[in-house]
Every structure is written in structure tokens, then in C-alpha cells.
């Protein structure tokens, strides 16, 4: 009977060789690389999770990345008692923080997925499978996108953790211990990958909605260069001008829509998509998750807010903002600036008790209703249709302006003009427009917050402007109501204690 011990899957699971006999498998695997950011497993909204070290809803990539980028800053607080989640805003996290750990796990899961994709699509594998030439052509495009997705994730690793384990498609899968890469080297690697695929990936605005193209590559290069001084000690602002200009000149435009339309259930079709360089797509029926947009919308609703106004069945009463963000808008919640999307009814501006939802203004930026107020496709009101605009033109404009202010060249006219395009949309007229005299670094940082708050940029921005840890104050930073500064080492997140315990090649970030 010994041959009877050679058992292989008999249901819809397949071995790799069996799976790739089906030509559609390559595209399905590519889809998984994108799904890695939006959903948490093979079932929506939960079940059959990718990661099992934390509750599945929490383990969603976008939810974790957003939590790292927003909860640690003046833009957001959360009232829940989920493990160490409050330590993020208090900036008292340790290497045992499970949200930081799971972010790290998510990043390296995504890297491992992309590596596996590249291994399974190597020339040798495709030859062995006698893959048809037309499919091979598609696969080359897929490979460029997979490398973009890996670069994106490695950028998150570079930004959050700095010196991290480093694996590529040349490493095996198994119980080995990856080597640690230094931040400078990781920067170089990401840059080289992006430059290598710049010419291979589908041209700007030519790929399917939801998929990465050349503009996404330029955008990621811009993000890399604008933070280069933080990452490597060497400024690369002129490269920011170069690559943001390529984006700006490739046909994206700010639509003639109010600002809030960017964050509605129909933001893939209501016109504002003309600005979107790279979205993370969500869908009430087809792309279901308890992380991502489901979290951003539900968790921000509570108190006297009417859930139906946001196209959902109920609020989770968790997320609010601090007075620091409110104060950035002249006139505060009643600002003429249409980007001041706050809910104040029954809410206090200041926060006495973080656990209580009514402490702090609520933020009504993301909604699961379309421009006409009609709720999204999920009849139960659980899962929104709203897409997350991870990279959009406004950010490119702001980066161009910032690089200009930092003396990297470019045109003053363009810089002021780009800012004013955004402000005209925000104010509905030119009353908020600025002149070159207002264009300084403080203005840029504040304007980035006004334009991009809750879009997962804030932590990176604050660090670049030196305002995240030992400078910069906001309520409940340092776990005190009035806020206090923290140690500079917190500009980098700690490597999780679990991985340090396992991977003896790793050295903890300084300070932890």
C-alpha cells in the first residue's frame, strides 16, 4: 500500500504544476498580489485568512498601514480596547505591539507572494510548461506589475521599519532565516527595481483601472526620492521634480467635482477617478473585507451620526481626530475650505477620554454613498464600494511644490499653480488661493494635511518635516491629554520581538 501514501489534493486546491496548467492561473495569481492590500484572505469578508497571528479583520494590509500612518499622528485617535492599539497614538509602542508585528508580517507576506509569483513565472518554468507565446507576453507585463507591488511593499518596510529582512525570488520557501538589509541598501534596491520596470510596465493611464502602470512607478519613485534624506541621509529633491512632472504631464487631471466626491462609493466613476494614479479598489459584493474601507468608514461613525448617511448599517464608534487637525482649517469645522469634513454634533473638539467616541470631532471623509447619496452595492450595509486613492495627482502636485520649496528646481509658477488648483476645488472659488510668498515648508506640511488627511501619508510627512517624535505636539501624544514629545528613535518602528526571537540575523532598531 505504500504508494497510497502519495496523496495529493483532490478538491479545488492544486499543486503548483497542476494550478498553472490553467492559463488563467497567472492572472489569478497576479490578482492575489493586488488583493493582498485590500482583502484579508480567500473568502470575503473573512474566513480562510492569509495571516493567522491576529484577528483577520485587523490583519488587512490597508487597515494596518493606515493605522501606522494615521493613529500615530495628530490626525486620528481610536477608542477601542484592542490589545495595544491605543499605544500607537500614545507613541508608547514596544516591540511586542501586535499591530506593528502584523503590519510587518503583512509586508513580508506580500513580499513572499510577489517572490513566489516571480519564481513561478521565470523563463525556465514557462519553458517547462510550454507556455504559449501570447500568454508569455502578458506574463511579462504581469511580472513588471508584481515587481511594482513588491517595491511598493518594500517601500512601506523602508519607511516604517528601516532595516528589515530581505528576500527576493532568488530565495527559497522554507524554514530559513533571511538576512537583514540596511536602509540605504533597501533604498537602492527599490530604486533599481522601479527604474528597471519603468520601461516594461504598461504605459501611464493605459492599464486596467485598479492595476499599476508607469505613472504608479513614477509616483512611487517620487515618494522614495522626497523622503530620501530620511531614508539615506542624501536628499534627492530634484528627482522628485523630474518624476512628479512626468506624472503631471501624462494626462491626469483634477475633475470638476467637489473635493468630497473623491471619497464616495462611486469614486471610480464619478469623475474624480481622473485624478487617481493608483487606487486600492473595494467592492461591497466582490471585494469584501473587514479591513480597508470597511474599517475607515464604519470605525469613524458613532455618537449621533446617522449610519445611513454614510451608506452603512452601523458605526463602530472608534476613530476621531484631534483638535490639531481641526485647527489647520480657518474657521475650523465650519471652514470655507471644503476639505474640513468634520462631524461635530454631540462631539467635543478636545478629547478628555480617548475611549469615549464623543470626545474629539468625528471625520466624515470616506462614505459608502454615491454623489446622489445612494448607498453602495452591499444590501446589508456592511461592506462599502468606496475605493482608497492610495496615490493621486494632488499628492504629486504637493510633492512638486515641496521639492521646489526645498530648492530642487522646477518652476515657481507651476508650484503655486498646482497648490491653487487644489485650493480652488476646496473653496469652490479662488478665495483660498495663495501666492508664492505663502509657499514655505510649514505651509506645505499643513496643506498636505488639509488635502491628504486620513489617506495614510501623515506619519511619513511628519517625519520628513521633523515633527513626529521629539518635535511636534498634539493631544494625547505621549499618552497625556495636552501631548508631549517622545524619543526620536520612534521615527522608526521596532522590529517585532517575535521575529527577533526567531531570526537571529536581525538586529533591533536603535532605541527599542
Amino acid at each position: 500500500c505504500e504508494s497510497d501514501l502519495d496523496l495529493q489534493p483532490e478538491d479545488n486546491r492544486l499543486t503548483a504544476d497542476a494550478a498553472f496548467e490553467e492559463p488563467g492561473a497567472y492572472k489569478a495569481f497576479l490578482a492575489k498580489l493586488y488583493a493582498g492590500l485590500s482583502v484579508s484572505g480567500q473568502q470575503g469578508p473573512a474566513g480562510d485568512a492569509d495571516l493567522s497571528g491576529l484577528d483577520e479583520g485587523f490583519s488587512n494590509y490597508m487597515r494596518l498601514y493606515w493605522s501606522m500612518q494615521e493613529l500615530t499622528t495628530d490626525e486620528a485617535v481610536i477608542g477601542w480596547n484592542d490589545g495595544t492599539i491605543k499605544d500607537l497614538h500614545a507613541q508608547t509602542w514596544t516591540s511586542g505591539n501586535e499591530f506593528i508585528r502584523t503590519m510587518y508580517s503583512r509586508i513580508f507576506y506580500q513580499v513572499a507572494l510577489t517572490n513566489e509569483f516571480l519564481r513561478q513565472t521565470s523563463d525556465a518554468k514557462l519553458d517547462a510548461r510550454s507556455t504559449e507565446a501570447s500568454l508569455r507576453g502578458d506574463i511579462q507585463k504581469y511580472r513588471a506589475e508584481a515587481r511594482f507591488m513588491r517595491a511598493l511593499t518594500y517601500w512601506h518596510a523602508l519607511d516604517l521599519f528601516g532595516n528589515v529582512p530581505f528576500v527576493t525570488e532568488d530565495d527559497p520557501i522554507g524554514a530559513f532565516l533571511p538576512q537583514q538589509i540596511q536602509r540605504q541598501d533597501l533604498f537602492d534596491y527599490i530604486e533599481s527595481e522601479l527604474l528597471a520596470i519603468e520601461g516594461e510596465i504598461t504605459g501611464a493611464r493605459l492599464n486596467d483601472y485598479g492595476r499599476a502602470d508607469q505613472a504608479a512607478v513614477w509616483m512611487l519613485l517620487s515618494k522614495l526620492y522626497i523622503n530620501a534624506e530620511v531614508y539615506t541621509g542624501t536628499a534627492r529633491y530634484s528627482d522628485v521634480v523630474t518624476y512628479t512632472s512626468k506624472i503631471i504631464e501624462s494626462g491626469f487631471s483634477i475633475a470638476d467635482n467637489p473635493y468630497y466626491h473623491l471619497f464616495l462609493a462611486d469614486n471610480d466613476t464619478n469623475g474624480t477617478q481622473s485624478e487617481v494614479i493608483f487606487p486600492i479598489t473595494f467592492d461591497g459584493l466582490n471585494t469584501q473585507s473587514f479591513g480597508g474601507m470597511t474599517f475607515f468608514i464604519h470605525a469613524a461613525v458613532g455618537g449621533s451620526m446617522v449610519p445611513a448617511d454614510y451608506g452603512i448599517n452601523g458605526g463602530w464608534a472608534g476613530l476621531r481626530t484631534t483638535s490639531k487637525l481641526v485647527d489647520k482649517f480657518p474657521g475650523e469645522a465650519n471652514s470655507a475650505d471644503g476639505r474640513a469634513l468634520f462631524y461635530t454634533d454631540g462631539q467635543t473638539k478636545e478629547i478628555a477620554n480617548i475611549s469615549n467616541f464623543t470626545n474629539g470631532y468625528a471625520v466624515e471623509k470616506f462614505r459608502n454613498v454615491d454623489v446622489n447619496g445612494v448607498a453602495g452595492s452591499d444590501p446589508t450595509g456592511d461592506i462599502p464600494d468606496t475605493d482608497f486613492p492610495m496615490f493621486r495627482l494632488a499628492d504629486a502636485y504637493l510633492m512638486y511644490a515641496e521639492a521646489f520649496v526645498r530648492g530642487a528646481g522646477g518652476s515657481a509658477t507651476n508650484a503655486v499653480n498646482y497648490i491653487n488648483i487644489l485650493r480652488e476645488r476646496a473653496y469652490g472659488n479662488t478665495s483660498g488661493n495663495i501666492t508664492q510668498s505663502s509657499l514655505n515648508l510649514d505651509f506645505i506640511l499643513a496643506e498636505r494635511s488639509r488635502e491628504l488627511f486620513w489617506e495614510a501619508h501623515r506619519r511619513t510627512d511628519l517625519i520628513r518635516f521633523g515633527q513626529f517624535s521629539d518635535q511636534g505636539l498634539w493631544p494625547w501624544k505621549g499618552n497625556v491629554a495636552q501631548g508631549r514629545t517622545t524619543e526620536a528613535f520612534r521615527d522608526l518602528m521596532p522590529l517585532p520581538a517575535t521575529d527577533l526571537g526567531i531570526n537571529t540575523n536581525l538586529k533591533q532598531n536603535q532605541g527599542y
Partner: protein
């Protein structure tokens, strides 16, 4: 003369022999015999299960003999897996628990017969649900993430350790009434013959068969029971609740009602149950049979919960060729029906606002309409949510036992077994009344489990008189395959009923095994076993492993210097063995497989004609190519003793067990694999313990007997290695709790018991009250962070014990069993989650939620989930059952009446509902009821 038992019933088939001759006979149907003897002959009467008696023949016309049942016969046959031995020749840690020692009561699940009866065996029921399963731990479990339950073998057929689908407890397929005895194999020298599945011990269950030459017997047995919940979770009364709600600055009177409802009393019912058994048996010279029909119906105390079993159990034995060929067929047909009550009602009743009534004035259910996160009225859930499943199962075993004619003492044994079950279930849930957008949910599930076994062995027994040695040799082969298939159709978000992908899992084990036992001079025993197992769950390089065992014994009482002393038995034995484990749940862990995603987890790739296109995903799964056997090595030393002609017997067993290459699901080095956690071979655990059992016949006479049995187990488990690294502080969080998502209260760390809690050390004021949020700043950095958590206490006990007394006076019998546990702690999660003011006042919507009464003592404003304040001592002693019975003997019918009470009282300092929860986390526990049972037994 006539031979009878103590109850004057004739004994057929008793062997009668003139000592030292070959002259003998047996008794007939009525216990009569005749034999020719001469003065001075010694006549020996022997019968299995009775003490042999010898009489000097002095010329009597007739000799009437009363045989006394033997309670602890040393030559009692004990199964040891692929064969048997006798109690006196057993060298491993093997304990047999027979019918008369079983727990009394309306027992639905067979393992409950055994609770508290055997040292080293801890059986903890999962709660009060009818027919619910239990955690069975022999010597505390040898693994971390892999299976920790013993292998259960029924009449030679090892069950699938994963259970079967759709039932509360797969062991319910065995009607307790049909069980003859349990044999518990505890140490590795005893279990090694089961190789790869033996690390957590083995329980061999033998079902009853007919007896040879036995008259037709018809028996009807009824056990009728009534069960009630006697204790509830301490929550705030309506007035206490109102006081806290009103104190809030945002208090909204409109959200409260005017009632005073004890919601927990609304969800529990007085549960009635009945167990009917009709058993017919008869034995002839060459053929015997036994047939049992069972109907069991047991309500749960949670309203609507119901367990029903209808089963038939048949066994037939045919002997051919002068008893040289024995064919045994046992087959059981079981319909296992469950109606599962919605257990969410337990938590909902604890948290529901007590100022509201169950029903509105118009008779409709009170609900928080439109409050999506609010609790659903628990009475509504119990009344309307419905999950019924039927499991139709057959367990059959066909055994051929043949004494080979050409060589005396050589035997061939073949065993073919099948365990096949089909599940069919229907689940309905009404649309959630709190969410207007939700829809009615249906889930139809079907599937089957198939477990097929074919094994055979040769056994050769020989007395080598020249060496004064008995030799017993066994060698065999076994193949077992497990196949599981599941299908499901359920309502999707879009409202339609959709079929889900079929899940199929198949795995197989192939084995070769051998054993050699030697009994030298009736003093020195030696037993060697080896098993070689192959598992389909590992790649070719790691597929096979060998599991040896060796044990030796010295029957000291057979030495001359102990003859004619008060010591009737004294045996020292020691053993070592290596066993394995492959029960990791997943089948292809060594193979990288790809799993397709469902359409509700797909991603958008652009549009075609304005219609968004969604692509289903394909995910590669994590794997460890080098996955291999978990290995457990166990040493055992023991002393068996018997005093005063075996009236006082006992055993002291000590063991030391180490499991290496643990199959543990642990964090994998980031980037090295395709998930954050991976099942791989890493780390080791160590356990050691001492087990002591003592059995005494305090009184032994024709009219009055009193047997007492006591056992205690001391044990210690700890993790000795957990990762590939060397960081001694490396730990893995365990023990999920409620109150926030993703929170854990226990940890695995080197040097600690795997159930150790991981908490902040609470600071108390001078009055002994906890100061909210004040914890010991262990690392002195002036802030309380993760780094200040400490390992503190554990859920597993240091010691546990069982104490049973059985008394009978003439036809009256009385028995009771105590069970206890020492050194175990419990995390009171109901109090930590709900015992604070915020629970009442800060619901995420327009409603209030009830709190645990501990808030009245500590006035906590917020959750303090990780405070050691909630880690409580949970030592307990429990009166498991008390039973009183009376036998009314009749001419044709014997009637036995009994009255049993179970779970009568628990002595404990633990504040929560029940100190006996196996993982040490008390949260929305299904209460174990107190049960009263009336038993009637008619034997025709």
C-alpha cells in the same frame, strides 16, 4: 452439585477439574454438574471473572459451590493493542476500568463514565450542553499545537482523531451501556505499538459481547433525568444598572425600560432526558450474540438545545473448528441528531439591559432596531435561530482469530474496520433584528467521513520449559485511510443560495509492528515493541519513522522470600518508549498548494463596456517541505502492590516525558514563507508526574461490601524550547479572550507551563482595593507598556484526584464519586470584559449594556483586561455523582431501581460560574446543570 454466584444465580460453563488430573467437566445451563471423585481429591472450580475455589473431596454426595466474583484478579485479561496480557504480566502503565467502576447517572457521552476513575487521566467536559464533548488528557498532553487527545480504539478500530462532522462529540456513537471496559495505555512502552498516534496515550474501548453458553437474557433499562441550572453569572440587577447608567453625563432616560428582567433566567429551561436501552443476548456452544437498541433524548438547559441518539449495536461471535477459528462481528448503527441552540444567547443574556422586558406590549420581541452592533434579544435568538444536523454513522469491525493448526501456539488475527458517517445539516438564521439591511440566512451542509482499516498480525506463544520462559511474539501490518468530504450551500450577501467549493481531505497511515514478551521464571518480565509508521502527511524523505518501546518487570511477590506474607502482589516495572504525532489537521503541509479565492474576495481589473471586471485570486499556501514526525520519548517507573490477599491494591507510577521536533504552529521568520504562522517542527516540551492509586475492599462479605478507590496525579508541564533562536524572552501569545479584538491572556515561553497567564500585576490600595490602571512598572521606565506584563499562574492543575466509594448491603447499593483539582487558576473573562462602568454607558449606539457585578466592588471605569486581578484560584472538589440503587430479585424478572444525582456541589473559592473550564478562560460558559436521574432496570 450446583454452582451459583453470590446472588444465587446458576453459573453455566464453570470448569471443574480434579487437581493434578485431566478429569474434568463443566456445569450445564442450570449450573448443575456431576463428576466422579475419590476421597482426598482436590476439586477445582474456575470461571472467568470469579475467584477459583478448591475443595477437598471427603465423600460428599453433592458439593454445592458459591463462586465469589473477583474484583482485582491478577490474571485478568487486559488488552494492550494487537493482543492482550494479564494484569500481573503487564509491564507498561496500563489501567483497566470496568463497568462496575463506571460513573453513574444519565450518561450520554462514554468518556464521562471514566472521569475521575484513573490516575493521570483528566476528563473535562466542554460545558453543560447535552452530549457535549470533553477534553481528555492523559498525562497532560504531549504537544502544543498538534492534537493533545488520546487515540481512541473501539474494538480494534482506531477512530479519526479529528472526529466526524456535525456532531457534538464523536464518542457519542458508542452507547455507554454497550461498553464492557476501558483500557487506558498511559506510558510510551505501552503505547508504542500504536506508534504515530500514541504520544497522548491510548484508550481502548471494548464493547460487550454475548457469553458462551449463556441463557437468553432480555434487559430493559431506563434512565429518566431532570437537569437544572443552579448558578448564574453575577450581573447587575435592574436597579444597580440604572444607578450606573444615570450617573453618566450623556444619560438618556429614553433608552431605558421599566422592567426588571433577569435575562439569564429567560434563556435556561429545566431539561428533561430519557435513555432507553433494550438488550438481548444469548450464548450457545459455538455462537453467541448480543443486541442492543438505544434511544437517548436529552434536552439542554439552554432552551431549544436537544441531543437525540437512536442506535443499534450488534455483536456476534462464531467459533468453528473446535474453537480454533473465532469470527467476531460488531456493528453499530447510529443516528445522531442534534438541534443546536444559538449559544450566542448566553453572552447576550449576560449583557442585555435588565430594564427591558423580553416582549413588547404587543407581544413582539423587544429589539434595538437599527442598532447594528447591539445585542440581539437572546430569547428571540433561541426561538428563531435553528441549526439541526443528523449524522448517520456505522462503525463495524470484523475480526478473524485463527489458531494455526500446524504449529501449536501460533495464531493469526485479522481485523477489518469501517467507520462511515454522513452528515446532513440545516441552519436557518432570521435576519438580524438590529440591522434592517440584513437578510435571512440559510446554510445547508452535507458530507461524509470514512475511516477504513485493515490490519493483521501473527501471534506465537510458547513455553520454553528448558529456559523456564514463556515467550509471546507478535508481528503485523496495518493500513488505515481517512477520507473527509464536505459540501455546503449558503446564502450570500447578494441574497442567493450559492454552493461553496467541495472540500476533500484524504490521508493515510501505513504501519508495521511487532512485539516480543518474555516471562522468565514467572518473575522477570521483558517486553519489546516496535512500530514503523508511514504517513501521507509528510514528504517522501520524512514519511517513515520507527517507534520503539521497551519495558521490564519484576514480580517480586513471586520470589520465595515473599511467599506466605501479607504481600499478595508486588511488582516493579519500568519502561521507555518513543512515540510520534502527525495529527496536525492539515494534509498537505509539506506540499506547496494553491487555493483559489472566492468571488467575494476578488479584485477589480478595469472595465469592459463600463462593467467592472473582477478577477478571482489564486493563493499559494505556506508549507514546510521538511515537515516530519513529532517525537515523544517517555520513561516510566512504577510499583504495583497488593496486600491482604489483594484486598488492598495500588500503584505508584512516575513518568518523565519529552516531546521534541514539536509540530507547532509558530511565527515563521518574516519573508521566509507564505504566511506569518507556519506549522513546522520546532521546540520541545517536557512533562513529568507521579500517579498514585489505591483500591481497598474495606468490607467483603456475602451481605456487605465496601470498595473504595482513590487516585491522585501530580504533574508538571513546561516548554523547554520554542524557537530556532536563543532569545529566552521569546514568547507566543495564546488564549484569545473577549473584550477588544485580538487580545490574548496566555503565553508560550520557554520554562513555563503552556497554559501560563500573561498579565499586568495589579496595584492595590491600603484597603485592599485595586487601583484602576495602576500596575507594577516592572522595567521601571515610568510607563506601563507591553514590557511590564508578567507570566503569572497557569490554568493547568498541579494535582488532580478522584475518590470513589461503592457500598452494597444485600440488595441495596450506594456509590459516590468526588473529583478534584488543585493549583489551577482561572481568568474571569466575564468580569474583566464587562465589570466596568464603560460597558454600561459607552455602547457604540443608542442603547445600554449590562455589566458584571464586580464593578460594584472595584468601581472600574474602563476595561482592565490584562490585570492579574482577574486571575483567580480555581481549585475545586466536586461531588460528581451519588447513586443509590436497590435490586428486587424476582422469579422471572429482576428489577433494579436507582436514583442518581450528578454535579451535586462544588467546593471552590472561584467567584465565577464554574472552576472547571479546561483552557482556564471563563467566558460565556454553558453552565453545567445539576441532574437527577431515576433509573429502572428489568432483566428477564
Amino acid at each position: 452439585g450446583t454452582v451459583t454466584d453470590q446472588a444465587s444465580a446458576p453459573l453455566p460453563g464453570v470448569n471443574i477439574l480434579i487437581k493434578g488430573t485431566t478429569t474434568g467437566t463443566t456445569t450445564d445451563w442450570d449450573g448443575n454438574y456431576s463428576i466422579s471423585a475419590k476421597n482426598g481429591d482436590i476439586v477445582v472450580f474456575s470461571y472467568v471473572g470469579f475467584k477459583p475455589q478448591e475443595f477437598n473431596y471427603t465423600g460428599q454426595q453433592s458439593l454445592n459451590v458459591v463462586l465469589i466474583e473477583d474484583t482485582a484478579l491478577l490474571d485478568e485479561i487486559v488488552l494492550i493493542g494487537y493482543g492482550s496480557t494479564t494484569k500481573q504480566d503487564a509491564t507498561g502503565s496500563v489501567e483497566k476500568v470496568s463497568e462496575k467502576e463506571f460513573n453513574q447517572g444519565a450518561i450520554v457521552s462514554p468518556e464521562q463514565l471514566l472521569a475521575g476513575k484513573s490516575a493521570g487521566v483528566r476528563i473535562t467536559s466542554s460545558g453543560g450542553d447535552p452530549g457535549g464533548g470533553s477534553d481528555i488528557r492523559i498525562r497532560g498532553g504531549a504537544s502544543l499545537s498538534a492534537n493533545n487527545s488520546p487515540l481512541i480504539v473501539i474494538d480494534g478500530l482506531p477512530l479519526d482523531q479529528r472526529g466526524v462532522q456535525g456532531v457534538r462529540n464523536q464518542l457519542n456513537a458508542i452507547n455507554p451501556t454497550d461498553i464492557e471496559d476501558f483500557v487506558v495505555l498511559k506510558d510510551a512502552s505501552a503505547t508504542a505499538i500504536y506508534g504515530s498516534r500514541a504520544s497522548n496515550g491510548v484508550i481502548l474501548i471494548t464493547t460487550k459481547k454475548g457469553k458462551t453458553n449463556a441463557p437468553l437474557t432480555v434487559e430493559y433499562d431506563l434512565k429518566a433525568s431532570v437537569a437544572q441550572v443552579t448558578d448564574y453569572v453575577d450581573v447587575l440587577s435592574a436597579s444597580e444598572f440604572r444607578t450606573i447608567a444615570e450617573a453618566d453625563t450623556n444619560f438618556n432616560e429614553n433608552l431605558l425600560g421599566n422592567s426588571s428582567t433577569d435575562w439569564q433566567k429567560q434563556i435556561y429551561q429545566t431539561a428533561v432526558g430519557a435513555i432507553h436501552n433494550v438488550t438481548v443476548s444469548q450464548g450457545f456452544e459455538n455462537f453467541n450474540f448480543r443486541a442492543n437498541v438505544n434511544h437517548t433524548s436529552q434536552q439542554g438547559v439552554l432552551t431549544g438545545d436537544l441531543y437525540e441518539r437512536n442506535s443499534v449495536n450488534l455483536s456476534a461471535v462464531q467459533r468453528l473448528f473446535d474453537n480454533n477459528l473465532k469470527l467476531t462481528l460488531t456493528t453499530k448503527g447510529i443516528l445522531d441528531d442534534n438541534k443546536y441552540a444559538d449559544k450566542g444567547a448566553i453572552g447576550a443574556a449576560i449583557g442585555y439591559d435588565p430594564t427591558h422586558s423580553v416582549y413588547n406590549e404587543d407581544g413582539s420581541y423587544f429589539q434595538y432596531v437599527g442598532q447594528n452592533l447591539a445585542l440581539v434579544n437572546p430569547v428571540f435568538s433561541l426561538d428563531n435561530n435553528n441549526n439541526r444536523a443528523r449524522n448517520t454513522r456505522n462503525i463495524s469491525n470484523f475480526n478473524v482469530d485463527y489458531n494455526m493448526p500446524f504449529l501449536d501456539g501460533l495464531k493469526f488475527n485479522l481485523n477489518a474496520g469501517l467507520d462511515y458517517s454522513e452528515i446532513s445539516g440545516k441552519e436557518y438564521r432570521l435576519a438580524s433584528p438590529t440591522n434592517p439591511g440584513s437578510f435571512n440566512y440559510q446554510n445547508f451542509y452535507t458530507g461524509f467521513n470514512r475511516n477504513t482499516l485493515l490490519d493483521f498480525y501473527f501471534n506465537y506463544k510458547k513455553n520454553l520449559s528448558s529456559l523456564n520462559t514463556n515467550v509471546d511474539l507478535t508481528a503485523g501490518h496495518s493500513y488505515q485511510e481517512f477520507y473527509i468530504k464536505s459540501d455546503r450551500r449558503e446564502t450570500e450577501t447578494s441574497g442567493g443560495l450559492v454552493p461553496r467549493a467541495t472540500i476533500i481531505n484524504r490521508n493515510a497511515l501505513e504501519s508495521y509492528f511487532a512485539r516480543a514478551s518474555f516471562d522468565i521464571a514467572n518473575r522477570y518480565l521483558l517486553s519489546l515493541t516496535v512500530r514503523r509508521d508511514g504517513s501521507s502527511r509528510f514528504g517522501e524523505e520524512n514519511r517513515w519513522s520507527t517507534f520503539p518501546g521497551v519495558s521490564a518487570g519484576w514480580k517480586i511477590s513471586n520470589e520465595d522470600f515473599l511467599q506466605n506474607s501479607v504481600i499478595s502482589n508486588l511488582k516493579l516495572r519500568a519502561g521507555w518508549g518513543k512515540t510520534g504525532q502527525q495529527e496536525i489537521g492539515q494534509n498537505y503541509g509539506y506540499l506547496g498548494v494553491y487555493t483559489p479565492g472566492r468571488s467575494d474576495a476578488s479584485v477589480q481589473f478595469g472595465y469592459i463596456n463600463g462593467v467592472p471586471q473582477f478577477v478571482n485570486t489564486l493563493r499559494p499556501e505556506e508549507f514546510d517541505e521538511n515537515l516530519k514526525w513529532e517525537e515523544t520519548s517517555q520513561y516510566n517507573v512504577a510499583l504495583d502492590f497488593g496486600l491482604f490477599d489483594e484486598r488492598l491494591t495500588g500503584t505508584v507510577d512516575a513518568y518523565y516525558r519529552e516531546t521534541t521536533d514539536l509540530l507547532a504552529t509558530i511565527p515563521t521568520a518574516a519573508g521566509s514563507n507564505l504566511s506569518d504562522l507556519l506549522t513546522t517542527n520546532v521546540g520541545s516540551v517536557l512533562s513529568k508526574g507521579i500517579e498514585f492509586s489505591l483500591n481497598g475492599a474495606l468490607a467483603q462479605s456475602e451481605d456487605f461490601n465496601w470498595d473504595m478507590a482513590f487516585n491522585v496525579t501530580l504533574q508538571e508541564n513546561k516548554i523547554t524550547k520554542l524557537s530556532l533562536g536563543t532569545d529566552p524572552n521569546f514568547f507566543i501569545a495564546q488564549g484569545g479572550i473577549s473584550g477588544g479584538t485580538g487580545n490574548n491572556i496566555q503565553l508560550w515561553r520557554e520554562g513555563l507551563d503552556p497554559s501560563t497567564f500573561y498579565v499586568f500585576r495589579q496595584v492595590y490600595d491600603t484597603a485592599g482595593q485595586p487601583i484602576e490602571g495602576a500596575y507594577v512598572d516592572v522595567n521601571g521606565d515610568n510607563q506601563i507598556t507591553e514590557a511590564d506584563k508578567q507570566a503569572y499562574k497557569k490554568a493547568s492543575p498541579d494535582a488532580y484526584l478522584g475518590f470513589t466509594n461503592t457500598l452494597n448491603y444485600k440488595n441495596l447499593d450506594f456509590s459516590f464519586t468526588f473529583r478534584g483539582s488543585l493549583g489551577n487558576y482561572m481568568y474571569n473573562n466575564v468580569a474583566s470584559d464587562r465589570g466596568n462602568v464603560t460597558t454600561v454607558n459607552d455602547a457604540p449606539g443608542q442603547y445600554y449594556v449590562n455589566a458584571h457585578s464586580s464593578v460594584l466592588d472595584n468601581n472600574f471605569q474602563k476595561q482592565n483586561l490584562f490585570s492579574d486581578y482577574y486571575i483567580e484560584r480555581a481549585d475545586f472538589v466536586k461531588l460528581d455523582n451519588v447513586s443509590l440503587g436497590y435490586l428486587v430479585p424476582g422469579e422471572k424478572i429482576d428489577l433494579r431501581l436507582s436514583l442518581t444525582a450528578t454535579n451535586l456541589f462544588t467546593i471552590t473559592k472561584y467567584d465565577g460560574l464554574d472552576p472547571e473550564i479546561s483552557n482556564g478562560i471563563d467566558n460565556n460558559f454553558y453552565p453545567r446543570p445539576k441532574t437527577y436521574v431515576l433509573g429502572l432496570n428489568f432483566t428477564f
